[in-house]
Symmetry: C2
Subunit: 256 residues, 2 copies
């Protein structure tokens, strides 16, 4: 998974709370930003419910199609936490009590059997052959099996878990990104921007209009693995803005 | 699509900006909340890139599997706005200039050919046989074709578009939801909550722990189509909290 080829990833958010609208997911944005920085392209993200067969099918589909799969959610102590068991089934391995995970939980709960009850011990049940992912926030570990990384759902724990294994990921060439904005109508920019994309087929050029009271503008994001080419495209974009009578604004337009 | 059977939906977010981490999606939460209120269960949400074949394959997969499909993103005037053309291809119909869409744009841009250039006119290209979705914010319409509703990506426009066609959707029995929280460890609640779920198999009971400085607690969400049963389950949950020595807090625990 190195060199010049594109390294791909899929994020699977497991959680009824996102599909009911109760919770606005934050994990896709965090993971996508981190993975892109690491040279790993997130090609798809899915939000799926807490249903065993759906988890199995989605994980088995995605782990074949992408270099890396990252899941969030469903590894806690309650009846609706079925991710670990489902992933064991997806890999056709046993879900078994992991001695190291149990030791961590025993230490965290000071070996108090009232605290470390059967429900909490369930969090030490890990698919056979998986390696643990540290959880510096609340101890109960995630795990990696094959190319699938299984994390908790709470954003702070996802962040901590990801940072604990980030160094183990092998990315392709990191993607460099430049954003240049201007107070110009997207439709007025479109023809020139299409020509710019044609001149720089090796870049991903995205156009994101914004509408604020009294000001309509566009942020254009140029992304690519060749930093010099990205800079070249950004310079051409600045020229295009000026031809349209608009002053380029570096980055997002954050002026009030 | 009525009566007691479950009416399902899939949300497809089309946009490189979400997969790169630039943008935190807001449309899934808005649409999921609205759809659930309308008695339509969101069974899956996907975020996919601006790639024609991916859009075609995803839309064709989802429109067969779900009663309704809602897409956001990619219907603007720039080169990366390829949703309309891709969906025409998915349905095997022509993408053609829609007279009504063109008339709306001409009125909006006061028939000024400088403003209503070829790029902006592209927003009047709609798959043959589709019906328009009003856009009270920036005029350029979305459209409905078959069971697929195609909207812009900007959250304020998605909201306005959705509200314009919401009355056309036929849901099943609306889902009623009650949330009761308590300052109790999720692992201490888990066994009793599992028993509660077993007693109420017709309810979806979800457990969502929260961690704040000085306070660890759980919000439990009970969802179902029978309001009386939901209330009954909520009463049993309050009893469970009290057995654990915790006072039930109605709704989310929003105390500082």
């Amino acid at each position: 998974m190195a060199g010049d080829r594109v390294v791909t990833a899929c994020i699977i958010v497991i959680g009824n709370e996102v599909l009911s609208g109760r919770t606005r997911d934050a994990n896709i944005q965090f993971l996508a930003g981190q993975l892109n920085e690491a040279g790993i392209r997130v090609v798809e993200a899915r939000v799926i419910p807490d249903i065993t067969q759906t988890i199995i099918d989605t994980v088995n589909d995605c782990r074949k199609r992408f270099d890396y799969v990252f899941t969030t959610g469903g590894i806690g102590p309650t009846h609706d936490d079925i991710t670990s068991a489902s992933i064991a089934e997806a890999f056709g391995v046993a879900l078994e009590r992991n001695a190291e995970a149990e030791a961590r939980l025993r230490a965290h709960y000071r070996n108090d059997e009232t605290l470390l009850n059967a429900s909490r011990l369930k969090m030490a049940d890990i698919p056979a052959g998986a390696t643990l992912i540290d959880n510096p926030i609340s101890t109960a570990p995630g795990f990696r099996i094959g190319n699938v990384f299984v994390m908790a759902g709470i954003p702070k724990i996802v962040e901590a878990m990801f940072l604990s294994f980030r160094h183990e990921l092998t990315g392709g060439a990191p993607v460099v990104s430049r954003t240049v904005s201007a107070v110009v109508g997207e439709g007025d920019l479109a023809a020139g921007l299409g020509a710019l994309q044609a001149d720089f087929p090796d870049m991903d050029i995205g156009s994101y209009p914004y509408f604020r009271p009294g000001r309509i503008g566009v942020s254009v994001v140029i992304r690519g693995t060749d930093a010099a080419r990205v800079d070249e495209a950004a310079a051409a974009l600045r020229d295009l803005y000026r031809q349209l009578g608009a002053e380029p604004i570096e980055g997002e337009d954050s002026r009030k």
